[in-house]
């Protein structure tokens, strides 16, 4: 018996003696705590709107427990960092920006040996300042980040590439001149391009250069920057997208339809599997319409419907384009027929939203008053049908906005204001709601001479869109009205 005991004991004690595994316990416990905190976080993410302060606090507390585990080892430290980043996100979810920034700064300080992580944390700090509306500090943080991680000419992280362009854009949001800052941003991007001209990163940097010119309305330079990408990265999978953007600039900004057609055609010939092929064909059709070649345009639009039936948005626009091509030829009856098809075939698209008001406006512009009145009535009915069919959706919000537009175009101000109030009352903050409140204010101000109504609309606008880019202009308007 004694011998058996020894046979078992000796290998066990040897294993135990050789093992250095006691350190996995704190890490294992921390992983367990991290997992449990993650489950709590998932519950918040299911519906953040319903999450209570207590839910957030409990989850933050759970992540703090992870940080509390003491021990050696990189894995445990990484886990603590991940927990702190989650805590920062939880503060952001509660719009407690300063607490989030404090957590990010802590991560920054604890990870001095990890410049990549520090850069990403720096980006989060700058973004948080931007989100909280402190644009001055945000600019400082973005500038610091760009100078530390992009100016050195080393290979920066992809996520940081948007940083330099942020600076002039924020300057413009502050109402300041940003030409110099655009130049500065381009300088940084050119540094990256020069350092590794054929790398994917250089392509992205070159794209940022194009964007910077587009921001400034220098469309020729933007197109040239894109053409440079095409020359330097002929094998890049991003090339069709670059060409598509260049084509759009030629057609929409530089009034250069031939160049646009060439560029679009290059996409269709070189990249037949391009996922936005339908949109490219659609753009070709639009260019032909611009050029006064409705038959050629129609051919393109018909090809969109035939070849890209699953791309409902492009197909609906193509159907609308076919109507426009007939209209351009003076064949209104055929055009009307095609326009009505848009609503029947593609009822849940932006093109379908466009049609009813477009038809009514057509008769109104032609001074065919009886037909126009009938068509406006019909349009309101169609839009009301859409609101009913897709209740509480963004699509319904756009339909409600169009109802108001029908009344506006008929100068029926009272009906317009009540449908706009319905829009703002029934839908969550979104682009049509913001536009609706601004239009409401303007109707009260200039058509109904009702300053209190205008103030009510603008006040509601500021309440629901506290960080809207037009906030300051609206505030100035309110000052005047008071």
């Amino acid at each position: 018996m004694k011998r058996i005991f020894l046979i078992i004991l000796i290998p066990l004690s040897l294993l135990a003696g050789c093992s250095r595994e006691s350190s996995i316990l704190p890490r294992y416990k921390a992983e367990k705590a991290f997992f449990k905190a993650g489950k709590l976080y998932q519950r918040i993410l299911i519906n953040p709107a319903l999450a209570q302060k207590d839910d957030y606090n409990r989850t933050i507390e759970a992540y703090r427990k992870v940080i509390g585990f003491q021990g050696q080892g990189k894995e445990l430290r990484d886990l603590a960092t991940r927990a702190r980043l989650k805590i920062a996100q939880l503060w952001l979810g509660q719009k407690d920006y300063l607490q989030a920034i404090a957590e990010y700064r802590q991560v920054w300080e604890e990870n001095t040996g990890n410049p990549n992580l520090q850069a990403l944390v720096g980006l989060s700090i700058a973004q948080t300042y931007e989100e909280m509306g402190d644009l001055q500090t945000s600019i400082k943080e973005y500038t610091k980040l760009a100078q530390s991680y992009l100016a050195a000419g080393e290979k920066p992280q992809k996520e940081l590439l948007s940083v330099p362009l942020k600076v002039p854009r924020l300057y413009r949001r502050l109402g300041k001149r940003a030409e110099g800052k655009y130049g500065w941003a381009r300088g940084l991007y050119q540094g990256i391009v020069a350092h590794q001209p054929e790398s994917p990163l250089a392509l992205l940097a070159q794209n940022q250069i194009a964007l910077s010119y587009a921001d400034q309305g220098e469309w020729k330079k933007a197109a040239d920057a894109l053409e440079q990408i095409v020359r330097q990265h002929p094998q890049s999978p991003l090339l069709p997208q670059v060409l598509f953007t260049a084509g759009n600039i030629y057609s929409q900004r530089l009034s250069s339809p031939e160049r646009a057609l060439q560029t679009y055609q290059r996409i269709l010939n070189g990249y037949p599997q391009y996922q936005l092929g339908g949109e490219v064909l659609l753009s070709i059709g639009k260019v032909y319409l611009q050029k006064g070649k409705p038959e050629k345009a129609r051919e393109s639009f018909q090809k969109v419907i035939k070849d890209f039936p699953k791309d409902l948005s492009s197909s609906a626009q193509a159907q609308f384009g076919i109507g426009s091509s007939y209209e351009a030829e003076g064949k209104w009856d055929e055009a009307l027929n095609e326009y009505r098809w848009v609503i029947d075939k593609y009822p849940h698209t932006q093109a379908a939203l466009q049609v009813p008001l477009y038809l009514a406006d057509h008769y109104s512009q032609k001074k065919m008053n009886n037909l126009a009145e009938q068509e406006y009535k019909r349009a309101v009915k169609t839009y009301e049908g859409m609101v009913e069919k897709y209740p509480k959706s963004l699509f319904a919000a756009y339909a409600q906005e169009r109802i108001a537009q029908c009344y506006l175009h008929q100068k029926r101000w009272k009906e317009a204001t009540s449908s706009l109030w319905a829009l703002t009352r029934d839908y969550p903050p979104s682009s049509p709601v913001a536009d609706g409140l601004l239009v409401l204010g303007m109707i009260y101000e200039s058509q109904l001479q009702d300053n209190s109504g205008a103030l009510r609309a603008y006040k509601e606008f500021l309440r629901r869109f506290p960080r809207h880019p037009l906030k300051e202009k609206v505030e100035k308007k309110m000052e005047k009205l008071k």
């Binding site: 294993l15 093992s19 595994e21 006691s22 996995i24 316990l25 294992y28 997992f35």
Partner: protein, 276 residues
């Protein structure tokens, strides 16, 4: 013996075992084995805690990779770790447990009082033969259940699911062919070769009954095995600890299925012997 008579014996063996379940002593060997399985489960669940960590961490890292030492991945692969440990346990302890249980069932079916001590005393000197039989049977079963689908994968037009069913079928057939070795060694005192020959011969004469004697308890395990194979899903939808609870249930369920594996096989053997 005609087919009807064989079927009768099969049902008799089951009924006898079911009736004997009132005698809780017959569960003792399985219960003891269940306790050992439970101890292994506790060790695996607390793998990061001393004193288990000293032994388990290097072993698990060696056989399952570092992923086994991270939570909740350790829980996802817990059933696999448990099954491997259980395989070793069944070789070291399980063969003896089956021998003791066979001895106790045979005693009971002979109208005497089964005694755990007597069973152990009878089995200890025969442990070597039982172990060798276990090695043979387990090697063949694993060959059919694990290796065969692996070898055939990609070389045959048969689908993966069909291959798995086929291999399970072969595994049960091997189990059925070896089914009577334990009773032949423990009760009849036969040697290795005679036990093998006897068991194969009995299987040849009573193929269907032997097949179902092994298949029923084995197939009862399938739903539970299927659920345990969905570790990632269980962890993401519920909590990792649900896998521990499922394995505890598995251990309890195995006590029951082992009882209805060894009992009917021993009963069937004795009935066939009596008839012949």
């Amino acid at each position: 013996m005609g087919a009807l008579e064989k079927a009768n014996l099969f049902f008799w063996a089951w009924t006898q075992s079911a009736k004997s379940a009132k005698n809780l002593k017959l569960f003792t060997p399985f219960l003891l084995y269940g306790i050992l399985q439970g101890a292994i489960l506790v060790m695996l669940v607390y793998l990061a805690y001393p004193p288990f960590s000293a032994i388990l961490v290097p072993l698990l890292r060696r056989f399952f990779g570092p992923i086994a030492l991270h939570y909740p991945q350790s829980m996802i692969i817990l059933p696999e770790m448990f099954h491997r440990a259980d395989l070793i346990l069944s070789g070291i302890i399980g063969v003896g447990v089956i021998g003791v249980a066979t001895q106790m069932f045979a005693t009971r079916f002979n109208g005497e009082k089964p005694q755990l001590k007597t069973g152990i005393r009878r089995v200890l000197p025969l442990y070597g033969i039982l172990f060798l039989l276990w090695v043979l049977e387990t090697g063949l079963v694993l060959g059919f259940v694990v290796e065969l689908p692996r070898l055939l994968a990609g070389t045959t037009p048969l689908g993966g699911r069909f291959l798995r069913i086929l291999s399970l079928l072969f595994g049960i057939i091997v189990g059925a062919a070896f089914a009577y070795t334990s009773v032949l060694v423990v009760w009849e005192g036969k040697g290795l070769l005679k036990a093998l020959r006897g068991s194969f011969s009995l299987f040849g004469q009573n193929t269907f009954s032997s097949f179902f004697l092994v298949a029923i308890p084995t197939l009862l395990h399938l739903p539970l095995d299927w659920v345990l194979g969905k570790g990632s899903f269980l962890v993401s939808k519920f909590t990792p600890e649900i896998i521990c609870w499922l394995l505890i249930f598995y251990i309890g369920f195995t006590i029951f299925t082992n009882y209805f594996l060894i009992g009917p096989i021993t009963g069937f053997y004795l009935l066939v012997k009596e008839k012949s």
